[in-house]
Subunit: 341 residues, 2 copies
């Protein structure tokens, strides 16, 4: 491996497979000379989408004969498809042939395979999924977004440490991130037992812990990293997506009502576009799987070219700032503090 960054892409993953991944890779390389990309998957299928672009040392194909379906059981994918594009892309990271991999495939299968192949970092019990979401003052990072369905207070504490390290290394807009624990009220009495115990652990840590936050705080911007278990995090995220869709639906319908509203709609196009760009989920695509001995970026399954491109950028950043090593170091130093107390 040279000094250049190499990223393996699961070319067959996601709702659109190579028809999105290959053009996204080409677009990425047009603007970035520091990175080599490996398209992992069926050669024929990939080549169909290369267009006039020719393969080179910067964009090459690594064959994989199988594909993981979007609704496939993680355990089946893991045991039964050892030559899937997803598995091979992760294997390339394990073998040191790539610094990171990006997949838009089945989240459960990606999680299980990455964990099996790459293994967990020392003292981290569970992987977690983290992503940035838009907020009034910029963006907020939230984890876990669905890697785990139940989390103990220790897991929540580890998520906080990992989230803090990730943001410190990856996000140049934020330093010493403010960590909040998602709860149903800011008073001390509220919340379930896991959350209350995690609150104590965080209060006694050297993290920049600001206490409990509520669901709406994610979008207000007074907190940088919001920690919760994967069940709650995933439902909060999907609920937010649902509201945004509903609002878009009603606005569109409102502007279509009559001549005057249609005119207003035309005049409002720049406002709507500016606003859409601000909260465009594609600009936030690329969730990081934290806690692994390697970098795995999960793209949204329905990602388009722009969105997948953004996920590749996230992978590059994570390699550049050496996220797993920083997290390992962060977890270790927080644990030392707890032992010394």
């Amino acid at each position: 491996m040279t000094d250049r960054i190499t990223i393996a892409l699961d070319a067959m993953g996601g709702d659109f497979g190579p028809s999105v991944v290959v053009p996204a890779a080409i677009d990425f390389l047009k603007k970035d000379n520091d990175v080599d990309l490996i398209l992992v998957g069926r050669e024929e299928a990939i080549k169909q989408h290369l267009g006039q672009y020719s393969l080179s040392e910067h964009l090459r194909i690594h064959p994989a004969s199988e594909e993981v379906a979007m609704d496939e059981l993680p355990s089946r994918a893991l045991r039964g498809k050892k030559d899937s594009s997803m598995r091979v892309a992760i294997d390339l990271v394990k073998e040191g042939q790539a610094h990171a991999c990006v997949s838009a495939g089945n989240t459960g299968a990606l999680m299980a395979t990455a964990r099996f192949v790459l293994k967990m970092l020392p003292n981290v019990d569970r992987p977690a999924i983290i992503s940035a979401l838009p907020s009034i003052s910029g963006h907020t990072w939230v984890l876990d977004l669905g890697a785990n369905v139940e989390s103990t207070s220790d897991h929540l504490f580890q998520f906080a440490v990992m989230g803090s390290e990730l943001v410190n290394s990856l996000d140049e807009e934020i330093s010493n991130p403010r960590i909040g624990l998602l709860n149903i009220g800011q008073e001390e009495i509220k919340g379930n037992d896991q959350v209350k115990r995690a609150h104590e652990l965080l209060n006694n840590s050297s993290l920049n812990y600001i206490g409990y936050v509520e669901g709406d705080d994610v979008y207000c911007g007074d907190v940088d990293v919001v920690v919760t278990d994967g069940f709650v995090g995933n439902i909060a995220l999907k609920s937010a997506e649902g509201v945004a869709k509903m609002i878009a639906h009603y606005l569109k319908r409102g502007f279509k009502r009559n001549f005057f509203t249609k005119l207003a709609g035309v005049l409002a196009i720049p406002v709507m576009n500016g606003f859409k760009k601000k909260i465009d989920p594609r600009r936030y695509n690329g969730a990081t799987l934290l806690g692994l001995r390697g970098i795995v970026i999960k793209s949204h399954g329905g990602a388009d070219i722009l969105a997948f491109n953004h996920a590749i950028k996230m992978a590059k950043k994570a390699v550049h700032t050496n996220v797993p090593e920083r997290i390992a170091h962060g977890v270790e130093s927080q644990l030392e503090k707890r032992v010394n107390e």
Copy 2:
């Protein structure tokens, strides 16, 4: 008690106390001749907000010398403030002097007091908070919105039965409501143990159970009642509120950018207003505390006059359709089915 409906209002509750509750009561009575309202609280404070309206058998004051603070511990409110406006309003329901009560006060205290004074319905272990939320096709009912921080599968099942009965009795737009269980994916494999077991119980019931739903389904309108535990429900609700606020913020800022966007903003006013009305949280104010032997409606603490008025309407409807009795009956009949299987 006559055939007329009598509703006790906690006049001192909420962020604004009698300055909102009293005008809301007066507005309500101007349009409704079938209901008598009792304003519970400090006589002087209430009288200040009566204006030219004079007390009568339809609007009377019932004195209460204390108030529950918005951040007071529920246990302290319950034990220490037996003459609070909240407690006395609930007592009036217990004593048969009112058919229902409405409070914008501290949710935890209201829950604890209502449970202590009114007691639970037979075979219902936990109260739950239910409210309607706007959706693309109309609205969706969600419970529990925060009465409980942890729920077993049996609790979730009871919530589903109660929610189904409430919607059947209260919501003339929906019959035989479609019940969905909130989860992080529609595949059978996903979800935590409570959710999986509740899924089995619901599958074996005679409810119109449509299976797992995700956070965004709440706002799509393909389900009528969404069941979840109070921790998740509350966070999903608050997240949705946060996104709506963020979108409003960006739209407002977008329209203020320059002359043309300001012009577009002025032309877009009717669209924005129609849209705001559609998803106006005030028109959804008034959550029902389910599972009690009596009707208690919780208004949002920050409710204004229009919003509190809506909560009184909810109380009237709940009295009219005899919600607690229907729920008791529904729970009993579902339990019989489970025993007979």
